[in-house]
Symmetry: C2
Subunit: 337 residues, 2 copies
DNA sequence: CTGAAAGCGCTTACAG
DNA sequence: CTGAAAGCGCTTACAG
């Protein structure tokens, strides 16, 4: 690898001058600048960013920590973070924790050792206390799509208003006349959606029935299974609110295999509006969560924190909106059942 | 940030000794080792990996370059690379090029400047010549899931035998009696699958008809559209081989909306065996491509290249296998049409 | 076993 | 405008 010293030698100057030409921090005479640029080109010199990082105390690298990429939701978010990161000439160190606290701690520590300039931690990929500790060691951190946690007040968070998402979905079903509305929810990450669901029901004078609250893990398979369980109930619900689209699609599959019609016998709503929702069978009504916007906002905030080292805590909530399609747009077939 | 000098001072030794304790490269007396470890713990010292990287000339970082994460195929591959990377105490710098050659070149250059220890380039995310150039500058590189390209002989490649995938899918349809078999294919990345398709047809004495060869871009939507075009043909095919599952699922949707039965009126085969394939409507017959195995093989090969700096070119082909489900398992309903 | 010195490849005041 | 020197935080021979 050719170094700045090689370039200096060839251009007949000193390394400091080469550095000045490259960084443009200090004026250099046109003549020597040309000589230096020529030498750089001839030697195909590429500055060693590791050395620069050590000298400058910054690495132009962000750490992004997510639970998994298997969930397309995070895949999209990572894409967007990478896009913004790239625009700002930063690079992205990515790691997945699979929601395992130990992994999260280990990854955060290692990335801190690598002296990344800042962290974005998504979807509760690590323990809140570990993230707070990171911030207390003066690392810029932005937390994105987290759960409500009192300790979060200490650090900047960018999130989607998921409680509103739960309300929008549930109110929509209530408007179509449903009273027995089930929910499939992954705790604790989707707790706000559950809260929204409960609030909307209470608003309508309905006391949430625990038997209609089913656990999932956000996968297609878990939605499928939860729906099967709901269908086996003596007094089965007439509508299902699945807290993400994958579970909603899984639930649809289960309902159809059971020989029931959607939405005639069972209305279904999801959350996210993933690409497949529009092509589902029938097209899925869902609450769209503007994930790219959230990712962008989080990244830009982090970049600002790094540059200006502002210290105030933030809370940015992006509003979701309902996308009505055909999985809900028919009134109950047998309203008396 | 506390440095090795702080630790040394506190332990009453020199930085070299602290380093020796940490790296265990040189024996240190138990007594001073304990003092050093105590100081490390008290100061919560974390070695600066940037400085170590500069001193050692290695960064314990791999670069992974993929086209996109939107395709769950790559999402899974990235997960697996990250897993293996992590196991070996490496980290992963990720970038996406969206199959844009300029982006690829730019990202590779930047990552080289960052002195990553090696590169995995996936799915033709960059121009072959740029990757070859990288290797010629002595960067360890492994190429994964590439297209056949004569220049590839220069570098190690790990791939799935996609031509075999095309043959398996097509032969399967031929066995069920289909003669008018269409293909939806993204060129040039899926060219081998097309070759396999053509070979299987010729083997069966059928001359591939260009009108049955339709372009796609690997997305659900493109499969949907291509199937629509095929259905509009005066002499429409009785089977569709979609070169990935997403296009197959899109094609299924189009066929069903058209009012035709699967597989009675139209058999459909995909490639990949993504999670959704088994839950499709009907469950999708597909050629499973062991993507995690490929990702793991590529990462481990790269790690070996970094350690031993072997120079021989490699070619590793992983065999795919057919997964028969219900989207093909009925003979033609109207064999005379 | 431990310390003093030099080096990794940059950048940054400070002189001149 | 340019050079000499010191420093970023480590590691690695080499002495002792």
């Amino acid at each position: 690898m050719t170094t700045i010293a090689d370039v200096a030698r060839r251009a007949g100057v000193t390394a400091a001058t080469v550095s000045n030409v490259i960084t443009q921090r200090v004026p250099v005479s046109a003549k020597t600048r040309d000589r230096v640029l020529k030498a750089i080109a001839e030697l195909d010199y590429r500055p060693n960013l590791v050395a620069r990082g050590l000298a400058l105390g910054k690495t132009l690298t962000l750490a992004l920590v997510v639970p998994t990429l298997t969930n397309p939701y995070f895949a999209e978010v990572v894409e967007e973070v990478a896009r913004v990161t790239d625009q700002h000439d930063y690079q992205m160190l990515l790691s997945m924790t699979h929601n395992h606290a130990d992994e999260g701690r280990r990854h955060l520590a290692r990335m801190a050792s690598r002296r990344v300039d800042g962290f974005i931690v998504m979807g509760m990929a690590a323990d809140t206390s570990d993230v707070v500790a990171l911030m207390q060691q003066d690392h810029p951190v932005v937390v994105c799509m987290w759960n409500h946690d009192p300790r979060l007040q200490l650090l900047p968070v960018v999130d989607i208003d998921f409680r509103l998402a739960g309300e929008l979905a549930t109110r929509h079903l209530l408007e179509w006349g449903h009273r027995r509305i089930a929910i499939i929810v992954e705790e604790p990450v989707q707790h706000s959606r559950l809260q929204g669901y409960q609030m909307a029901l209470l608003e309508a004078g309905i006391v949430p029935d625990p038997v209609y609250i089913r656990p999932g893990d956000s996968s297609f398979a878990s939605g499928y299974q939860a729906a099967l369980d709901l269908l086996a109930l003596p007094h089965r619900p007439t509508a299902i609110f699945a807290c993400n689209d994958w579970m909603a699609l899984g639930a649809m599959e289960a309902v159809e295999r059971h020989g029931l019609a959607i939405p005639g016998d069972m209305a279904i709503v999801g959350v996210d509006d993933i690409a497949q929702a529009a092509y589902a069978h029938p097209p899925l009504t869902t609450v769209s969560t503007p994930r790219r916007e959230v990712a962008r906002a989080a990244t830009e905030l982090l970049l600002r924190l790094i540059d200006h080292s502002e210290q105030e805590p933030y809370m940015t909530l992006v509003r979701p909106h309902l996308v009505v399609r055909h999985s809900t747009d028919v009134a109950l077939r047998r309203s008396g059942e």
